[in-house]
């Protein structure tokens, strides 16, 4: 499974100022706080429902993202993935959780930012490989199930994330 994106949604109330993530992400680059090559920070806090504060990486990007009007931490794998689909999902999820844990414990966000671990949005960031259709969901459902069973556990619902055929293919998973 290629170019997996995972978004963990923040719980309300959201922090007042997401631009506090700018110094945090700069520190992560400085201190190599995440695996892989972290390159720079882009500030899009001025864009309504935009990519927020964006940590540019070589293998993946991370962002405190506001797309869709919901704040969340978005992981976006840029590089091709050579393992199985389940591994691709698991790796992306683990990195997202790791980053989320780090972010909430940073002084700028301590006590002001929490993520809802019962909800997940997975997007496959390649329209040609993964058209936004029911067929794609059907084709990938076994891998999603295996990943979600292991990572989410318990009972959950899963459905296509976006009805608009122009959108990328994605699923929305919520633990019951």
């Amino acid at each position: 499974m290629q170019h997996v994106n995972i978004k963990l949604f923040a719980e309300q109330p959201y922090p007042e100022d997401i631009s506090k993530a700018i110094p945090v992400f700069h520190r992560w680059i400085q201190q190599k706080s995440m695996p892989g090559l972290l390159i720079d920070v882009a500030d899009y806090a001025h864009v309504p429902q935009g990519p927020g504060i964006f940590l540019v990486g070589h293998e993946y990007h991370l962002s405190l993202d506001e797309v869709g009007g919901r704040l969340g931490l978005l992981f976006n794998r840029r590089e091709s993935w050579e393992g199985t689909g389940v591994d691709a999902l698991r790796s992306a999820y683990d990195l997202t959780i790791d980053a989320a844990n780090k972010l909430v414990s940073e002084p700028e966000f301590e006590g002001k930012l929490r993520f809802n671990l019962n909800e997940l949005e997975i997007v496959l960031n390649d329209r040609l490989l993964y058209p936004n259709t029911d067929e794609t969901l059907q084709k990938l459902s076994a891998e999603f199930k295996e990943f979600l069973d292991a990572s989410f556990g318990g009972t959950y619902t899963i459905k296509r994330a976006f009805a608009d055929p122009r959108a990328r293919f994605g699923v929305h998973a919520v633990r019951a």
Binding site: I39, Y44, R168
Partner: protein, 753 residues
Amino acid sequence: MKQSNSLWKEALGDQIPPDLGAELDIFENEVILRKQGKIDEKVFAETRLRRGAYGQRYDNGKRHDGVESRTLAYPQTELTKGPHTLWDAPGMQRIKVPYGGLNAEQLEVLAELAEEYSDNIAHITTRQDVQLHFIHIEDTPALMRRLAAVGITTREACGNSVRNVTACPYAGVCRDESFDVTEYAKACAYFLLGHPDCQDFGRKFKIAFSGCDTNPCALVRIHDLGCIARVREVDGKLQRGFEVYVGGGLGTVPYVAKLYEEFLPVKELLPLAQAMARVFARLGEKKNRNTARLKFLVAKLGLDEFKRLVQEERAILTYDPRWDAIEDVAGIPPEQPARPAGLLQIGELPSDYAKWSSSNVYKQRQAGYNTITIALPLGDITADQLRGLADISRKYLNETIRTTVEQNIVLRWVADADLPKVYDELKALGLNAAGAGTIVDISSCPGTDTCKLGISASRGLAGELRMRLAESSLAAEEAVRDLRIKVSGCFNSCGQHHIADLGFYGVSRNKGGVAAPHFQVVLGGQWTENAGSYGLAIGAVPSKRIPEAVTRITSRYLNEKEDAETFQAFIRRIGKAECKKMIDDLGTIPPMDVDASFYSDWHDPRVYTIKDLGVGECAGEVITAIDFQLTACEREAFEAQLALEAGNIEKAGTLAYEAQLHGATALLNWRGHKHDGSPDGIVAAFREHFYDTQLFHDPFTGGKFAHYFFRAHERRNEPKTEEQTHHLIEETQLVIEACHSCYARLTAQPVGA
């Protein structure tokens, strides 16, 4: 990087025009060959630039992270895509949008590309282009194919070529235009695209079209070739043509374009452009990029000689049927509305509609229709917003969308009756910001955010000013409201600071051994009348104090303006000396150990640095002799401006030259290099110790500023025109900046050293 890259060619099939498809096949092969080391890096660099694939900051693999300059460990450390440009480093893709025209399908593809290859943002530039950032070079062929399938080419978006042909976004609906220039701009763009006569330039060539000579929508006079629509009567018939301007350009030293011809019949437009391109290719500078723009050729030859050469070239051109076909465009049916005009229902208006409408809605000359400006913050728009606009443009318009040189998007042909509904839909997309074309609608180049040449954070400053002004009662005052602010990250003027009421460009200053981000304040530029005149720098202000400078300058204007006096007239009346007084005290900042905030830039907490070097340790150091001497040079340069303003051209020229000489002397004395004190002796010593050693060289422009100095010295006794003196003063400012930078580079040390 994308797994699907190799699949797009087949997937898109015949949606890609064959010629363009063949070009992209070649480009894709060149990417592969370069990866295999079979194409020289310099050749590949120009190849990708001509496809719009540009470098980005830190692509040399070095980045200062606030503590020290560190290597960015890209996987491929040896492979490059150009000199000092690593293969895996993210780059920028510029997408040409002739005359700014886009349709709904194109917006949707731009949205897809922003999501899949970039950071979910499409950025509108000051030349109506779209840029995507953080793109891997190996993704570019697929990305270009997807654009080609919807009729967009990136060919010649960068490099030494004819860049995007820009035009007034109100063309065809404007109340003041002579005629709609759209189809002429389009014909010119596609005639010159890939034209054999445009493949051997020493630098870029920019063209713009305007329907009128007063409004600031196309900025004709900052272009190499600018055309303003004109109509004349010949034998009782109305004939279309253009008032033609040549040799304009901003860049480090701005030139206002000169009037080339008062009326050029439209059928002569393409042959003239072709002939001009041939003269530029043949006689334009090729070795020294710094003097390679057409403006330098026109200045060197003189307008009359340039014109003679172009006419000579025109006479020997082989006939091309496309020259005459351009006359047919007058018969192309004009754009049509999608819906009947109807009536605006006053009672249904949303609460915040009035404010938005007053600044963002333009009544078209066609009764009952409007052009809406979507004010994009810093020119940025998301993928979802692009798709939303595509939907609106299908629902309410015939997809009549254009980008603007003020980094906005306009929707044309919105019916009166639809205005509130369109407003509501824009609001749902977060695209309902009021203030289009006002002081809060600030233009900015990318600056240090992504540009390799950026010195200060132009986007950071623009964003900060925009936010503060939007909340300020001062900005609501009518006289202040319509001023324009433009910000560039360096002296290269991509943010067009020269033509703003209040312009700013990034510079650095050494304060007690520590580099601090600053902006030069440029006042008195004119964006109306197609960018009719340029401002001059009045002094550098610490970056963090620019908002205060803006408040002071605009407050004073508001309080002291006489009746309907414009800002430019006010600045002229009080004089630049008085302007400088307003900001002089802002230049002093506390040492770093007292207030470190002055030593980092807007929205970037890292300790500020130029050239990936850290700051010195001597924050509390006393001011050295060179600090005083360089400050004195700035004063001399300023006095030169005042002399020019007073009409004393000779004195202005002498003062400007002496300011350069004193800057060089300051550096020589500081380093303890001996000289005999005579101008010749100073120049010789400077050449030996700073030029030949390359210590004075700018990392990106090399010895450009030293050349300015040498040339000023050689020509110091020649009489000068007012325009030449104006240029000399501009160059003097840059030489002084270079002295500051040289001093900063040679004193700065990595943190902890």
